[in-house]
């Protein structure tokens, strides 16, 4: 029997943050991880390896387009083993770092699958190890959603984890699901030489984002990829010798096509049902989510839950902030999760990022807003890096001018969006943003330009309306 003050289940960004923050506040902490490496999906089979591969993709693409700059590189030779090794090195460096941080904080790391026995005990599955805790933070995350219609037993049918392993580079790759994960994998495999086909059920890629900020990406990849089928459904998937035979239902899509490999990226499901949490009395909804209040407390007083397992959006940066709240509340601080915005980023080429409210949401909620859209074709910085697509869109309250949301598509959109998130948290209005001197020429000035357009003070473009 191991006794501890705080038990954290899961070592993803949420889990290790909860463990480290609790330890820093003076608690005895045990961190349980099912996998060999710490870091969870994000570090091992998610954000980090995908970003490593996306960087590789970017280098390949930039070398290819260097001919526009008057520099010609020979066609690249892809050493897939080398690409894989670089990715693994990055992952290992980070997971080793987490191990070191855990050690330095005297957080006890145990490997195993924790299952609840009661409100203050878990057992590590397959062992006799019982851990007794005063407080528990469930940070057990989510897993790839797998539908029975896809024959995952055939290794040519992949989920995102399989795809990141980079076993080979298929000639023709079908990606089912045009969300962020699917599009990022498309970016990687396209650069490595695959012919990409994307099937998306919705009427646009990344359906939660506004269509106009997806458009520059859509226009660009439509030309590069073999096919993007919107409003299209996969009805049947069979593994045959020649490849994976897929039946499609959609206006433009062929009825049947065969691909060398298929990547299924249709979403993630929370792991709420896999922990015997009911034995602790924790409520789990029918989808497997565990509800938590804004202090990250579940219905059971000493059990907290954070990250993917408590709800959408399933994003590491949300989990990290929730983790700090949970740890602080456990340690008696008056903490709570009251962030006004959680930004979203797709690391595609060009990137797409948005924060605050989308235009869709504002319309549904009936909030009156002013919009300022700055096209990057007028950005000196964007043109000088050889890219003319991209937009920055600011959404402002039509009465007070307060920033409500921002959407960006273009190079480094993921980096640029943080300014808007800070503006939202600080309650800036369009004038605050427009009057903040942004360095020139930068991509970040497009944020100020979008505010100027909404205000009617833009000079880098002809003002359409709102002239002031």
């Amino acid at each position: 029997m191991i006794k501890t003050q705080v038990l954290v289940i899961g070592s993803g960004p949420g889990g290790y943050t909860a463990a480290f923050r609790s330890a820093d506040l003076g608690k005895e902490v045990v961190l349980v991880e099912n996998h060999d490496n710490l870091g969870g999906v994000c570090l091992n089979v998610g954000c980090i390896p995908s970003k490593s591969l996306l960087h590789t993709a970017q280098v390949i693409n930039e070398a290819k387009s260097a001919n526009q700059l008057g520099v010609n590189f020979a066609s690249p030779k892809i050493d897939i083993e080398g690409v894989r090794k670089n990715k693994e090195a990055t992952v290992n460096k980070l997971t080793a770092g987490i191990n070191a941080l855990a050690k330095a904080r005297k957080v006890k790391v145990l490997t195993g699958y924790a299952k609840f026995l009661s409100t203050n005990q878990v057992k590590l599955e397959g062992t006799d190890d019982i851990i007794e805790f005063e407080h528990c933070v469930i940070a057990a995350g989510s897993r790839v959603t797998k539908l029975p219609m896809f024959p995952f037993e055939d290794e040519r049918v992949m989920d995102s984890t399989d795809a990141l392993l980079l076993d080979d580079i298929p000639k023709r790759l079908l990606i089912v699901g045009g969300g962020i994960i699917g599009l990022e994998m498309a970016t990687i495999y396209d650069a490595l030489g695959s012919e990409i086909t994307i099937v998306e059920l919705g009427e646009q890629l990344i359906p939660t984002a506004d269509k106009d900020i997806i458009n520059p990406l859509f226009k660009r990849i439509k030309k590069i990829y073999s096919n993007i089928f919107l409003n299209t459904k996969v009805t049947k998937v069979t593994a045959i010798k020649k490849g994976i035979k897929v039946s499609l239902e959609g206006k433009d899509a062929p009825k049947i096509d065969t691909f060398d490999k298929v990547l299924v990226s249709i979403g993630r499901s929370p792991n709420g049902n896999l922990l015997d949490a009911k034995k602790a009395g924790v409520d789990i909804d029918k989808d497997g989510f565990i509800a938590a209040n804004r202090q990250m407390k579940t219905n059971v007083d000493n059990i907290f839950a954070i990250g993917d397992i408590v709800g959408q959006p399933m994003l590491a940066h949300k989990a990290v902030h929730e983790a700090k709240v949970a740890a602080e509340v456990i340690c008696g601080q008056k903490s709570g999760f009251d962030a006004l915005t959680i930004p979203s980023v797709a690391y595609t080429d060009p990137e797409v990022a948005w924060t605050g409210k989308t235009e869709k949401e504002l319309k549904i909620e009936g909030i009156k807003f002013k919009k300022g859209v700055f096209p990057w074709a007028a950005s000196g910085r964007s043109l000088s890096i050889g890219r003319s697509e991209g937009i920055t869109k600011g959404l402002f309250d039509s009465e007070t001018g307060k920033i409500l949301g921002m959407g960006i598509c273009g190079t480094n959109a993921g980096e640029l969006i943080s300014e808007a998130s800070l503006a939202i948290e600080m309650g800036c209005d369009m004038t605050d943003i427009a009057l903040t001197v942004h360095a020139h020429p930068t991509l970040s000035e497009t944020t100020a330009f979008a505010a100027e357009i909404a205000e009617g003070t833009i000079t880098d473009l002809m003002q359409q309306k709102n002239k002031k």
Partner: protein, 412 residues
Amino acid sequence: MPTAKNVNLPDIGDFDSVDVIEILVKISDFVKENDSIITLETDKATMEIPAPFSGQVTNIAIKVGDKISHGDLILTVESDSELAESDSEPSVKLKEPEPEPEPEPEVSLEDSTPAKDKPKKLDQKKEEISLDTESGSHASPSIRKLARELGVSLSKISGSGQKGRILAEDLKSYVKQIVTTGNIDDEVEILPLSRIKKISGKHLTHCWSTIPHVTQFDEVNIEQMEQFRQHQKERNIKLSPVVFIMKAVVQVLKNHPSFNASLDENSENLVIKKYFNLGIAVDTPNGLVVPVVRDVGKKSLIELAEELKETSERAREGLLKPEDMRNAGFTISSLGGIGGTQFTPIINSPEVAILGVSRTQIKPIWNGESFEPTAILPLALSYDHRVIDGAEAARFMADLNQVLRNITEMLL
């Protein structure tokens, strides 16, 4: 089959668009005939509307804050007898058991377009701290953190920073204010004003700040009146001094018509009233109301005493209707039953004068030879100096004194 009956707003006098301030029933409540169902408020009074018949409320067509008029649908009620029939059916359905969560979540391809769900949140009541971000003013993350630590709800604070932002200083001064005014030694309690006080407060402020008041004091020897009252009391007829004052006032008003008048909206014309209706200020548990006794001149002392008693009771029970409080020409406010030597009453606009009555005292009065114990009634006449001159007011008071001193003059 039970049929629904509609309850519409009955005729409540010539009011249109009356505010609904309270709904006293909920859907599925049983109401009895004459049970109050809603409370309405005009600028003068609040009134409760009774249910015209018994039954179960099945629909409420209005909400608090609505303005309704005669004939508007208030709610729908299923009548008693019909409900008795439906009683044979079980009224409570057994709840279907919640489906067991499946080990593998049900996901369809449709889930590839996940709705951007807000994170599911538990009942916020379980939260031990205030996480109120719905403030009208903006608060940055560090200020929200400080508010959580201080246990302050941001919705109670209006920011003093640029664009109304809440600053750390705002939080600190709010807490300081609580600490300095709300500590155990001098505990305070915040009580919202009653509806009547809120309404009359506005009116009083208007009267006080727009009318140039002058108050004329006098003392009246009411020995004769007291003897008469004593005599009637022995005959079991109880007459309060107020009814005599009412009678006397009307008699004097007849000779001083500008006191039974009001200024028109532009303060250019005096509207002289040819009728003699007196407003009588009545103290009720909810605040001051001023019901009107009509045609005082035509009523006997006994009739006035009975009417006054009945009106005061209705006022205390909150049953006055708006029309009970309209069309006074002059108002009397008597605190004689309580005490005090004098006070300065506020004129009830658009009237131009008001008489304040304090407690009768026995004073030694020189009768030429000796001091004689005499019943003395203190009076205070506040008048609108735009309409009435000091000399006129003094004459009014002198005449009133004369009538009250010699009550037989009332016979004239």
